[in-house]
Structures are given as structure tokens and as C-alpha cells.
């Protein structure tokens, strides 16, 4: 591994993960250490039982059905964005450990095809939605409520995804080589194997990892904390 790749795709990954986890822990502790208002200002109709409230909170957070009523386009885009994002996240787990049950069912060729089709599709879906989000922010009234953070996040996400798509559609490196890299990071000995080190696509990988690092580091300080906060706030709704 050259020094540059080692810094970005090695050292910086640790830094980013550290900032992400410490930052999120800090943020969540901060929320929980701020006292709740001593008033129950939930909104009706609300479930009468505790478990009912929790179930409603999960439904409100994961499906947010009310938004479908008032803004179907946004609802659809938001679901597409988050579902694609979630599946892409799961897809990345293959880089830590191969999904052996699927491989034994489909064969290793079949697995590669499946990964290409699903990864490719969701990669494109999420790109389209992010571009839609970004364009929307330049139109009224959205631009009047947007702040630079909103554009920054969308641009960062778009860049991460674009580099990811680049790796998927133009890469000549097999998943096993990427896995070797991820494994090396997990073992605190970041390195590229020969196939990756000799491919020009490694620059795209370094760029992808670099951008993802930045996104991770900014995550706990941004509105992306809604990942956790949405559940907590929706619980207040049914309180």
C-alpha cells in the first residue's frame, strides 16, 4: 500500500469510525441528560398502553404514514432513498464476511450476478433520488428553508455514491480483493492485495473511502442524527 492510500484508506478510517461512534454516543447522552419537560404533550389519537405507544412510534418513524397523505412524492422519494441506503449498507457487509448461505444456494457466479443487479439497481435509485433532493433545494420554498449543511450533506452523499457506482460498474477487481482490504483494516494492518494494488480502480476506492470518512465524521454533528432522534421524537408524539 502506498503511503497516501495507507493514510486515507487506513489511518483515516480509524479516525472516522472513532469520531462517528464517540460523536454519536456524545450526542445521544446529551439528549438523555437533558431533562424532559414535565408535561405530556402527545397528540391524539394515541394508544392507551405503553406497548401501543412504542409500536405507534416505530410505525410513525419507519413508515411515517401521515406524510404519504400530504406529500406523496416526498414520501415515495424518502422511502426509496432510505430503503436503498439500508440495502446498500447491508450489501457492504459482504465485504466483512461473505454471505455463505446465499453463495451455497446460488453458486459463486450467481452471488456475483445478484450483487451486481441489486447493488447496481439500488446504486442508481439512490443516485436519482439524491439528485432530485439536490435540485429541489434550489427551488422555492425549499431553498428558503435550506442551509448550507443541507447542500453539503447531499453533495457528500452524491459523491460517495458516485464513486461507489464507479467501483461497481467500471471496476475490474473482484469482491474477494475488496474483502481482503476490509479484513486488513479490521485487523489493524491496512493493506491492498496485489490485484487491488495493481489496478487503477484503487484510486476510486480511495476516493470512495475518503468521502465516506468525511460523511461519517460529520454525521454526529449534523441533522443525520435523525437516525436515532426520529425514534425519540416520535415517542414524544404518543406520550
Amino acid at each position: 500500500m502506498d503511503l497516501f492510500s495507507f493514510t486515507i484508506a487506513g489511518l483515516m478510517v480509524y479516525a472516522a469510525l472513532a469520531v462517528f461512534f464517540i460523536g454519536m454516543t456524545y450526542r445521544i447522552c446529551h439528549w438523555f441528560s437533558t431533562p424532559k419537560a414535565s408535561i405530556r404533550l402527545g397528540m391524539f389519537p394515541k394508544p392507551k398502553t405503553r406497548s401501543g405507544r412504542w409500536l405507534k412510534m416505530l410505525k410513525d418513524t419507519i413508515l411515517f404514514p401521515q406524510a404519504l397523505d400530504v406529500d406523496p412524492t416526498m414520501w415515495f422519494m424518502a422511502i426509496a432513498f432510505h430503503v436503498a441506503g439500508l440495502l446498500i449498507f447491508f450489501g457492504h457487509l459482504r465485504l466483512i464476511k461473505e454471505f455463505t448461505p446465499i453463495v451455497s444456494a446460488l453458486g459463486s457466479k450467481g452471488m456475483d450476478t445478484l450483487a451486481f443487479v441489486t447493488g447496481g439497481t439500488f446504486g442508481i435509485v439512490i443516485t436519482v433520488v439524491v439528485i432530485y433532493y439536490l435540485f429541489r433545494r434550489f427551488a422555492s420554498p425549499y431553498k428558503d428553508i435550506s442551509v448550507p449543511e443541507d447542500y453539503l450533506l447531499l453533495i457528500l452523499i452524491l459523491l460517495v455514491i458516485t464513486m461507489g457506482n464507479h467501483l461497481r460498474f467500471f471496476g475490474d477487481v473482484h469482491v474477494a480483493d475488496y474483502r481482503a482490504y476490509v479484513q486488513s483494516v479490521l485487523l489493524f494492518r491496512p493493506s491492498f492485495d496485489a490485484a487491488l494494488a495493481h489496478s487503477s480502480i484503487r484510486w476510486s476506492l480511495v476516493a470512495h473511502v475518503f468521502l465516506a470518512n468525511i460523511l461519517l465524521m460529520y454525521f454526529p454533528f449534523s441533522k443525520l442524527t435523525h437516525t436515532v432522534g426520529a425514534f425519540l421524537a416520535n415517542l414524544v408524539r404518543s406520550d
Binding site: M43, F44, T61, D71, A78, P141, L152, F221, T225, N234
Partner: protein, 419 residues
């Protein structure tokens, strides 16, 4: 404005901080799904009334003063100072909100924009820029609390005619309005004017309720003003009266925000648990009918009738079916508005807007959705169990020449009451 003053004003956010508020300020995605939830934005298309924008006015100060990244790079969040410009904008925006919480209903994170805006009102008050009209009304109410003995006799005098009307209606010359009755079951907190006293008195009499009439009106302009201390003092007049008379229950008149204050806010402000129950006259009416303590003529009214869910009765208190059941029993041609119940449009008059003459034109414009909704039902009568809504509906009725009758629940019940 000097830096010190700006800091003091920004400090209001910190002083009012709690977990909900922090979440709301941290997580809004500025997705603008709340856009079409607010009748004021929908009817004016003015971005200042877009709920997320209202919240953003406070959020930008919060980011600049109270978050690490915002202190470091304020421009990332368009961090702002609470300067003259911002305060002016706050005034226009915060005192326009009706507190309907329809935006909260639709927000995917259930962000309560009114909760954020209450900080804005507190900031305006700290800067000495609260609403003058609401301040005057609130101060007058507090004043009355201090000099109640001067008012008692006047009030009894004024109510003599109403008392006579009640006697005629129930056919009992001995029926009186009970005042200062110790140990009564119910203390009824009415509004200024006999329209909220007489029908309630008739209903209480027919239900053989052991009740007494409060000397104070339930309306609370301190709450609209956003001044918790004043609001607490105003509500406290009735709370003290109830404690003194040792009643079991305080029943609040058909006034959405007043009931909300007693039911939810007072205990938070006063940091005490109230020794009696708080309910709405709507709860009592349903209860009396269900228990057979009063009965009404089914189908007494045969013109088309619709029911307006006041935000503070429906979405914010949870009475959807009970009042409907009463209206449906009395009216043979009942029609629902669309949308209704939790999704109902605000009338446009809540939040103290009806008390502010400067906002009358604004109320007419922003009430247009309600007008269309009512017209679509073809109803000739609208039942609305909230004084604020009724005043607004009166304005709309006249302005848009709707030619409808607007009535309260207790009036409706008395019209159909079997005596």
C-alpha cells in the same frame, strides 16, 4: 444591539431547554413535508409561515450559540443573532401561529413547531417586544384577580336576567346560579358573557349537578402571549378558588386553549399536582347523556349540520367521537367535513389571533380553507365547541357571505333538551 444583550436573548433558548426541544432543534431534515400542513402557508404561499421556516428562526440562533459546530462554522447553518431584524420577523411569525399543531401531525419526526415557537415568544418578551394587545388583556385579567370583591356584586347583578331565563326554561322559580358554594362537586369556569353560562347552568340544573360558578373567566391571554408567569397567575385565580371551595372537579367551558392550560400546562408551570380533576364541559355533556342524567330530542334539528373539530379539542385533547355522538343524536342530517378529526384544518383563529385586530385581514385570508371545507358539506349549521373557533367562524361567515349558523355544543344541547 450590543453583544451582551444578544447573548442574554439567545440565553432564553438555554433557559427553556428540555429534551424535546433539543431533539426538535437537532434533527429537522428541512424536508418541508410540513409545508402543506399549515393553513397559513397554504393560503398565503409566504415562506415565513412554513412551519420549518418558523422553527428555523430559532434553530439558527441555537446553532450559533449552543452547538459546537455552529460556534465553529456558523455559516454552515446560517447561524444568526437575535438582533432587531430577527426579532421583528419572530414577532410576525410567532404571534401568527394558531397553535393548531397540524404541522406536528404530518412531520415524519413529529416536530412540535409550537413548542419551538414558545421559545420565540419568550425571547420577544425578554426583549420587551411581546404583543401589546395580549399583554393588556392578560394584565386586565390579573388585575381582576386582585380586586375580585369589587366585581362580585356587579357580576351577580349582570347575571340576574340570565338567571331568570334559566328559571323560565327549566320551569323552576327557585333555580339559582350557585356562587361560592363550598364542597360542590363541580366548579364551572365559564367565559366572559352569559352565552357560556346560561346554557351550561340549564344543563347542570337538569342533570342535578352539585355545581358552583367561578367568578373568573377561563380564557387565558397570558398563554397566547407566551408569558408563562402571567398565564400561571391568570389560571391560578380559578385554581385557588377551586382549592378554597374544595371542589372535586373543575369543568372548563367550551374554550380549547383554556381547557388545555388547566389540563396540561398548569401543573408544569406551578410544579404541583392539582388536588382535583380537570375536564371540559364537553366531557360532562357526553357523560350526562350517556348516564341518562339529561336527555335530548333525537333528530330535533333537521337542517344539514356539520361539526368542526377544534384543534385543542380534537388533535390536542382527543375528543373526536364523543361530541360527534351528541351532534348526531340531535341533528338528523349530519355531514362530515373533509378532512376531519385529527386531520381537520384549523379555523384560522386560534392562538389568540381573534383578539388582535391587526390580524383580522390575515385571519380572513387564512380561513379560506375552512370556508371551502364547510361549503363542500352544504351544511347550514356548524357546531364548534370552542369560543375561539366560533369567533373566527363568525368573521368568515360574514366576510365570505356563507349564510350559515354557528353554534356551541351547549347551545345545541339546550335547544334539544327535554325539560
Amino acid at each position: 444591539m450590543p453583544g451582551k444583550k444578544l447573548e442574554t436573548l439567545a440565553g432564553v433558548i438555554d433557559a427553556k431547554m428540555n429534551r424535546q426541544l433539543k431533539l426538535y432543534l437537532d434533527i429537522c431534515a428541512r424536508c418541508a413535508i410540513c409545508r402543506d400542513a399549515c393553513h397559513q402557508y397554504v393560503t398565503t404561499q409566504d415562506v415565513r409561515y412554513l412551519p420549518a421556516y418558523r422553527a428555523e428562526l430559532i434553530r439558527r440562533i441555537y446553532k450559533k450559540y449552543f452547538t459546537k459546530t455552529g460556534q465553529f462554522v456558523p455559516s454552515l447553518y446560517e447561524g444568526r443573532d437575535p438582533d432587531e431584524n430577527l426579532l421583528e420577523e419572530l414577532y410576525d411569525v410567532m404571534y401568527a401561529c394558531t397553535g393548531c399543531r397540524r404541522c406536528m401531525y404530518y412531520c415524519p419526526y413529529s416536530i412540535d413547531t409550537t413548542w419551538i415557537q414558545s421559545v420565540g415568544k419568550a425571547m420577544l418578551l425578554a426583549a420587551g417586544k411581546g404583543s401589546e394587545m395580549l399583554t393588556q388583556l392578560a394584565d386586565a385579567a390579573i388585575d381582576k384577580g386582585k380586586n375580585i370583591d369589587l366585581y362580585k356584586d356587579i357580576m351577580r347583578d349582570v347575571l340576574k336576567t340570565a338567571e331568570k331565563e334559566m328559571q323560565d326554561k327549566v320551569g323552576d322559580k327557585e333555580a339559582h346560579f350557585p356562587y361560592d358554594k363550598e364542597g360542590a362537586n363541580v366548579l364551572y369556569a365559564a367565559l366572559a358573557g352569559t352565552h357560556s353560562i346560561l346554557p351550561a347552568a340549564i344543563i347542570f340544573h337538569m342533570a342535578k349537578e352539585d355545581w358552583t360558578l367561578s367568578m373568573f373567566e377561563a380564557a387565558n391571554y397570558g398563554y397566547f402571549l407566551g408569558d408563562a408567569a402571567k398565564a400561571k397567575e391568570i389560571a391560578g385565580r380559578i385554581i385557588d378558588e377551586a382549592k378554597k371551595l374544595k371542589v372535586k372537579e373543575v369543568v372548563v367551558s367550551e374554550c380549547g386553549h383554556a381547557h388545555r392550560v388547566f389540563k396540561f400546562f398548569y401543573e408544569m408551570w406551578a410544579k404541583e399536582k392539582l388536588p382535583f380533576k380537570v375536564s371540559s364541559i364537553l366531557d360532562k355533556v357526553s357523560e350526562y347523556i350517556t348516564d341518562g342524567r339529561i336527555s335530548v330530542d333525537p333528530g330535533k334539528i333537521d337542517i344539514p349540520v356539520t361539526y368542526h373539530d377544534p384543534c385543542q379539542v380534537g388533535r390536542n385533547y382527543g375528543l373526536f367521537e364523543e361530541p360527534r355522538a351528541v351532534v348526531k343524536e340531535i341533528c338528523s342530517d349530519f355531514r362530515e367535513m373533509t378532512p376531519n378529526r385529527a386531520k381537520n384544518w384549523c379555523c384560522g383563529g386560534g392562538g389568540g389571533l381573534v383578539a388582535e385586530p391587526a390580524l383580522e385581514e390575515f385571519r380572513k385570508t387564512t380561513g379560506k380553507l375552512k370556508v371551502d371545507q364547510i361549503r363542500d358539506t352544504g351544511a347550514k349549521m356548524v357546531v364548534s365547541p370552542c369560543e375561539n373557533c366560533r369567533l373566527q367562524l363568525d368573521t368568515l361567515n360574514e366576510h365570505y357571505k356563507m349564510d350559515i349558523e354557528i353554534t356551541s355544543m351547549i347551545d345545541l344541547v339546550v335547544r334539544a333538551l327535554k325539560t
